[in-house]
Point group: D2
Chain length 235, copies 4
């Protein structure tokens, strides 16, 4: 295996045909409508989860055991582009990252984290290529969901947000947990297929499929950008 | 395909070897410890999600579009056995089911539900073979997680519960959402591999694997029963 | 004392002048702005908290120990008028009341409730003079706040509500707890001075003063109605 | 009036006799039982809320508009003593203070705060006389309640806490909001009459009375200490 080419799986076909027929028969999977007041949410894209650019997954894990390896490289480019356009259109942007203090005392988002690892893993900064600029909110969270034990819902309500465009990592971890909660809170939720990543190619694909069935519409970043442009230029 | 034999996939091997190596390298997946004060949680096992016994998935979906078909038959037997033993050992038991009123007004747990379907789907009773008995709490919930917008955490705190044994359906939906929240709340969470079910065999297997990596220990009902017996007979 | 005339205290002057000077010096108490999408919230106005019309407080307590006596009579007229106008202007309306099942299993909103009282106190219907009509949401809650362990925030988000007009009982109990949470969630919160009531005249006045200092603007129902008319007729 | 002697009001008698008879008739106010696993919670005792020692309220407000003046001096001594004993008995201790970042972006706990004030008010450190020591959790919160949008409940569950001893400020603000939520979560809640303070003497007294009626038992620090000693020496 070549570590340096990130393998991918197609979320539309990762499930066996039989399972897809079941989902189809159950009539899940309908399209959500874009709202009038979107925000961009960038979940947990810190150095310890993204890993150095171009580095294979196993080497990357040797450096930070939570790293997703080179799977993040393409997604980070997508996020950088989305953020540039979002900023030019004055779309509210919110980042999340782990809180060292809260995770140390109130427990991590996943099992098995040792107390002496917390600072190294969660103290890592947001990846430089998509670093927040002045005036953008970096919400520090404790658990998997961006909403659990955080003022995220208050922030969104304060800006009267009705639509979320979600990027980040990991697809099967904090992205999925945040997506479930975002839908439960009543937002129109869109997960960007090319703006999320995971250490496991299969976890990435399966979770996109399942989120698209139940809690979100999975879209391409180009569709997200077209929506923002139409909404903001028209306004 | 024969509808009447539920296909299954093994959660331990559903991921490609490469992905499992990644998870292993990342050192997720450790075993949680059983606590001193467990409760049994039975999630959403109502007629409209379980379907009639022995009926194939597509026929079952024709009756209730949310049905998981015959996948639930074996799990329901496991739950019936666990509940009988739990009752004999005075273990607190809590059921969840959907609230017709709350889902109608505050929105369903998944996208795409039509208002005129809510009563039929969520008004369905808990499956007779595992029906609650007098004095057992049936908590009506609105969203996927048993904790979201419910007094579940207050109920558990009131009984000083530290350990949850989770059964029910669907593995990829309400069980996973509840498991993430249970772990985030600080419980020791155990999901019973033979006590949960899903309409999609692959969703069932993949979600067991992922929950076992991050938020819970996936165990067999025989291990759960051995734990309860040891704890309660010793006490 | 004559039980049949409800004594009242003026919330604007219930505090000693010295305390009011302190609050003034601290520059709390500013006016909130009305938003674009209001809802009316009627908190816990059930027979067991309102008591029969015209009955004095101690007689009323003999019937339902939670009764607020005749203090509710005038407020209920105010609510009936507000609801009629709100309905004619298509303003979303949400009622709360206690859930018998959830309070029995997960504990009441206040200490000291005996399990054998729960059904009688919380099974009581909403006062007939302001009963909900078809299509209005009666959200059953467990604890003091209308938001705690309920899907209230999801309901409000679904309707993109930004402004709450709060009536009901008791001012010092469920109204105050709900008002704190509503403000914490990010809503513009207005408590109607003539639409809330409490068993204790002093609790009623003191809590209006304190809510007006910190979490809400306390207004007269006439101001609420003027706002709704202006907003909806203009629209 | 002499600013330098903090006036006080007795919470047991601050209500008129008639109101107290109503509360008594309603049979609120019963005593809660101490549990087996207590924690000490110190709410928001930062320089900007406590003010310099011995300084009168109006001078203090001139320095920090949120200051409670000399009302905190005696309570801080009580807290220092309780903390010393709690530490010697290995009782878990948790402090709260405002989060500058979260309040700036997600909104303050009370209305009317200007963005340019947030850093000065909430960046102030915990009062030196009761400063946390190594290994004690300082949880940064956004809103009035120590539980709202925070991982407090996860922290407490992780330590299997069943009993809270609450001190801090302001009695009518963050202490009351936290007390309501603590009770709603299912804890046995004790508010220390001599360990809390408020800028308004009447708010302090009224809120102690009301919390003691509904959500907590108000006790003296000497009773809290006797409980801790009995529990931990016996253990």
């Amino acid at each position: 295996m070549n570590d340096h080419v990130a393998p991918t799986m197609d979320w539309r076909t990762v499930f066996p045909e039989e399972d897809r027929k079941i989902y189809e028969a159950a009539r899940f999977g309908g399209q959500l409508e874009f709202g009038q007041n979107p925000a961009i949410m960038i979940i947990d894209v810190v150095d310890s989860f993204a890993g150095p650019k171009g580095q294979g997954i196993f080497d990357s894990i040797n450096q930070y055991r939570t790293s997703c390896g080179e799977a993040g490289d393409a997604a980070i480019k997508v996020m950088a582009n989305l953020l540039a356009i979002g900023r030019s259109l004055h779309v509210p942007i919110v980042y999340t990252k782990g809180s060292v203090v809260d995770k140390y005392y109130a427990g991590d988002s996943v099992k098995g984290t040792r107390p002496d690892e917390v600072e190294r893993i969660y103290g890592a900064p947001i990846v430089a290529a998509i670093a927040p600029i002045d005036g953008e909110y970096v919400l520090e969270k404790t658990k998997a969901s961006a909403f659990f034990g955080t003022p995220m819902a208050s922030f969104l309500q304060r800006h009267r947000i009705d639509t979320l465009l979600i990027c980040g990592t990991s697809t099967s971890g904090c992205v999925r947990a945040s997506t479930i909660d975002a839908f439960s809170h009543g937002y129109q939720v869109f997960v960007l297929e090319d703006g999320v990543f995971d250490r496991s190619p299969m976890s990435n694909a399966v979770n996109l499929y399942e989120m698209n069935q139940k809690y979100a519409s999975v879209i391409n970043s180009s569709d997200a950008i077209a929506y923002l442009r139409k909404l903001k230029v028209a306004a």
